[in-house]
Subunit: 348 residues, 2 copies
């Protein structure tokens, strides 16, 4: 049979459709008795409200879009976990847009998917949206929050990558290192991914401030994965003469790859080579990685909670049509410097 509709519930409960709707969605002005009746009838019939009908009528979707470059990478999957948990608990659906590297797909997502009025809000991770694109989203009354990306005009949650990269580098410098290499990300492929450049700038600023030379051949790039950095680090460390005494990797995954490469060369970490990363990868514990922990999962959860608050506020203020307050707040997420055993004074 064709699944019970609210009408069937109403008939069975001996109430009107309107009352049943109010009763089931927990609205006020329903007598306890009616509410009870409605719920019982709904349960008996196995009634589940039609999402589309409900959304169409109410304008509320209970659905948040999440745009990430790749769930396969540690940082992003951490964010997804955080967002997902918060949304599920609030009864919201999470629509995932795993855009990948192709700019073409990015466009499709932006145009065809995000704008179809089916999302209450959008969380964009490490995605650089143009002012116009943001305005387009805001124009359909959808709050956006960005994580780890620059979203002019929208709220963001992020860490101060430049400063933290500098702090990490300064840690090495403070230990006495002068010959410091940097593993950066190869971001030229993707215009949306400016992070490597920012961290690299922090690194270079710290080096410059300390009066140390940044050797071009000691800045190598990798794809933000352990295996990618492993390969790059092997190249970097292959030269027996004039080897750096420390490496600042732009992510924990790349730092770990570096450590694995160092081990393969018989280099002890930290006696022969100090390695510092950034992000807070769980695996860092295993290899004793010194790093700066930014809790991406927490960032995701926070983003989701902020969004839900905004949506609730909007829902309360006016039942429909009131654009949720688009006050763009830019908040910095707290980080934690974790000194473990991968950094030490340089070899004599």
């Amino acid at each position: 049979m064709g699944l019970a509709g609210i009408k069937d519930v109403a008939d069975r409960a001996g109430l009107s459709i309107a009352t049943v709707s109010r009763a089931l969605s927990g609205k006020a002005n329903v007598s306890p008795k009616s509410r009870q009746l409605a719920k019982a009838a709904a349960a008996e019939l196995g009634f589940v409200p039609s999402y589309h009908a409900s959304s169409l009528a109410s304008g509320r979707n209970h659905n948040v879009g999440l745009v990430v470059p790749s769930v396969h990478r540690w940082y992003f999957s951490s964010v997804v976990e955080g967002v997902s948990g918060a949304l599920l608990d609030a009864g919201y659906d999470l629509t995932l847009y795993n855009v990948g590297d192709e700019p073409e797909r990015r466009q499709i997502v932006l145009n065809d998917f995000l704008l179809r009025k089916r999302l209450d809000a959008v969380i964009a991770v490490a995605l650089v949206l143009s002012e116009a694109e943001i305005q387009q989203l805001l124009a359909i009354h959808r709050p956006i929050v960005g994580i780890g990306g620059a979203l002019a005009g929208a709220s963001t949650i992020r860490i101060d990558d430049a400063r933290l990269a500098r702090t990490a580098t300064e840690h090495l410098i403070g230990l006495g290192h002068t010959r410091i290499a940097h593993i950066t990300g190869d971001g030229e492929l993707n215009r949306d991914f400016k992070l490597p450049g920012i961290r690299r700038a922090g690194f270079e600023a710290a080096m410059a401030a300390a009066g140390h030379r940044v050797r071009p051949e000691w800045t190598v790039s990798a794809d933000f994965t352990i295996q990618g950095a492993y390969a790059s680090a092997r190249t970097l460390l292959a030269t027996a003469t004039e080897r750096p005494t420390a490496v600042f990797a732009a992510s924990d995954e790349m730092a770990i790859g570096t450590i694995l490469a160092a081990r393969d060369f018989g280099l002890r970490v930290p006696q022969d080579l100090s390695v510092i990363g950034m992000d807070g990868h769980e695996l860092g514990e295993v290899v004793g990685l010194t790093t700066i922990n930014q809790d991406p999962r927490g960032q995701g959860a926070l983003a989701a909670r902020l969004l839900l608050e905004t949506l609730d506020a909007g829902a309360k203020r006016r039942t429909k049509g009131a654009p949720p307050a688009p006050e763009a707040t830019d908040r910095e997420y707290p980080t934690e410097f974790l000194v473990r055993s991968s950094t030490a004074v340089p070899p004599v």
Copy 2:
């Protein structure tokens, strides 16, 4: 102004709503001229059809649900990548249900989310659904396909875990190992996650067939992560006397954790200890892990494609109401045995 509706487009194009609808959704029986007119008007107004209205009226959602235990784990995020790519290309949305370990959340997802008629189909990864639960899903005319999980009555894509675990173990036995340890997953927490038991059974079957003893103290469990297995492997390898000469880990991540632990003890892999894993983790390449590659991304993509085909077929056969063919096919996904450098003959 409140976003253009199809009515606005119709007015602007000088056509009726019906014709515009047909024109824009690529239906037949529209003159080229009208179609052109409609498209132009839509473009000028920046018209994007309302998802909900469209779904409500047509009964088609263009949305597939994906249920996974945790996107944060390698295997699942690989599957998500595969599914996501295929769906995006087809213009489908992907709704992600990252259920986690809590059975409570599992229930919520099953009842509140999956049944709300907003999904065209469901892909469940490593999720064991009861016959009743499957019937409930099928009852709302939604095809389901399971990946890596036993779904009685629904289509599945999977590998033969028992046989492959056996093959992996036999590889070690074939090299001459008799003292073989096993790292299994701690699945007792989650009734949905039977995989560890199956692989373990394969291991034990191979050992029994070869007449080798399975020592209880040499079967340790971990949480399927590198760091978890690292800790467990340390315990396992701590005993200097009577140490196994080989380890079969129930996942690549755990095999990698084992290798890292072995290195910490000064054990050389494979000279002192052979390690074999299962899954095909990218990181396996870095540590030279011998393993059995099951391409989870490919499995995800395949699942999505199968589903889309079914949906298309259903759409063609009857415009509405025809339950998409629920022929439950159970297909085995091809795997590839990768012999790398982590396994060798046992030390003398």
